[in-house]
Symmetry: C2
Subunit: 279 residues, 2 copies
């Protein structure tokens, strides 16, 4: 059973590879939208009069010429030429609320996913704060209740991660592909055996160890591990066992407090015996 029913959003990872995204507007919010979409493989079109371009938007347009097409103009003057229906997603970042609303209604009628900055009731979806480490992506949403607190939660999450999760996930993904080539088949007994072996590996190796895998050690892991139905230690494959710790960055070692305690204990004893001798 889900822990909390109702009232939430559906957090999803939208796929934009080979898709087209239109951003209407060129201000600061538009530059944030461009950054969000650059993370994907979508082609971006920015529609804005050149006078309305924020320096950051200009920089992005200049910096990613193969990713971004810039149209100098405004939505009001050529909506027919625009062919909005050729876009797979439309984001508005306009000061003109009425114009934003009319674009949203146009999109809604044609089921084009749309987000209008600052008009939550018209949005098909909201953006959130994000962390990315290679294939690992994390999103924090407060459902519009507090962007400032979202940043504090993001900081806690960043501090809890070692920064080695992305590399580990990438290597495990590559290993899964190799394993599927070696033992193909969807579902059934072989699928179950693959899943069990991968789970065992991920439980026994830590993130730092998984991240050290390369072509050679993956081959060895499949030969010595999968084929013999066991999970060898990283050391057995010539990797540094627990060499790279995956402890969170803020995990403090207890050595210093022990030393301080020890020194205080010795000092206390010395003081007491000095006082006793003085008598």
């Amino acid at each position: 059973m889900p822990p909390e029913i109702g009232g939430g959003s559906l957090l999803i990872a939208w796929q934009l590879s080979g898709k087209r995204v239109l951003i209407v507007g060129g201000g600061e919010i538009a530059s944030q939208r461009i950054n969000s979409i650059l993370v994907t493989d979508a082609h971006i079109t920015v529609l804005s009069p050149s006078a309305g371009l924020h320096p950051r938007t200009e920089q992005l347009i200049a910096g990613y010429p193969t990713r971004i097409t810039y149209l100098d103009g405004s939505y009001e003057h050529n909506p027919d030429d625009l062919e909005l229906t050729k876009y797979d997603m439309i984001l508005t970042a306009l000061d003109d609320v009425e114009l934003s609303r009319s674009i949203c209604h146009y999109c809604r009628d044609r089921r084009i996913p749309v987000n209008a900055a600052d008009i939550p009731d018209l949005c098909d979806f909201y953006f959130g704060s994000q962390i990315r480490d290679g294939p690992l992506q994390i999103m924090v949403s407060t459902n519009g209740n507090g962007p400032r607190l979202a940043n504090l939660v993001m900081k806690k999450i960043r501090d809890a991660l070692s920064g080695r999760e992305g590399a580990a996930i990438e290597k495990v993904g590559a290993l899964r592909v190799k394993l599927k080539e070696r033992a193909p088949g969807v579902g059934g007994a072989v699928g179950k055996r693959r899943m069990t072996w991968m789970t065992k590996l991920c439980n026994e190796w830590d993130m730092g160890e998984l991240g050290q895998l390369n072509e050679g050690t993956m081959q060895k892991l499949l030969d010595e591990g999968w084929e013999k139905d066991q999970v060898p230690s990283p050391r057995a494959l010539g990797l540094k066992a627990k060499g790279v710790s995956s402890c969170p960055r803020n995990n403090r070692s207890p050595i210093l407090p022990v030393l301080i305690g020890f020194a205080t204990g010795v000092a206390y004893c010395a003081a007491v015996s000095w006082l006793l001798r003085k008598k």
Copy 2:
């Protein structure tokens, strides 16, 4: 500039309030999909022959009669009666890959957002591992590279949070609404002043303190704080200042190591002086 360009998904919070979601299939995956959608306020329709219902799916259908409509049948036999276009999102959880594919193509042509379990290339979006604490929602996606490692990342995040973030975000959201009523207006000078004051509050109070706010203390905070352009301490409002710590659960106190060190130091001293006296 975004830290990593290309290759990623667009993580978004999809809005399903007042929307209709169709789940085709009734097995274990279908029950997971129902759980995901129950978090939102969407109405759910499950289409599956009764013989194909997993016990968990049956339980959910029985447990949430106002949220879930169950259609006993299969997609093949009455696609016309179904009126797929009345749904705002369609999720397939079927063993029949060909059927799943044909539903996906139907949806794609009509721009109905669709997810097909186990057929990533046909999905408009992927699901991910999620944490929810009231208005706070967190999603972890490995972009299909390793569900097992996603769970390990989730565990790290859970351990880093105090469990008081949701309550704090909820209270801050309510306070923002009250503040907007007291000092209305979109953007401009008043919008800027509101944002500055809220940011200052969130920086100076911790999550445990923010979560203690109620109707009375919010009123006081606006009267004594906002009106006088200052942020009073939680103590000044009669709340326990730092009473409820917002430290992560795994943050260890250094008292124990200090005590151990102290005891070792005293024992060491005693042993040394005993040995010296013996001579």
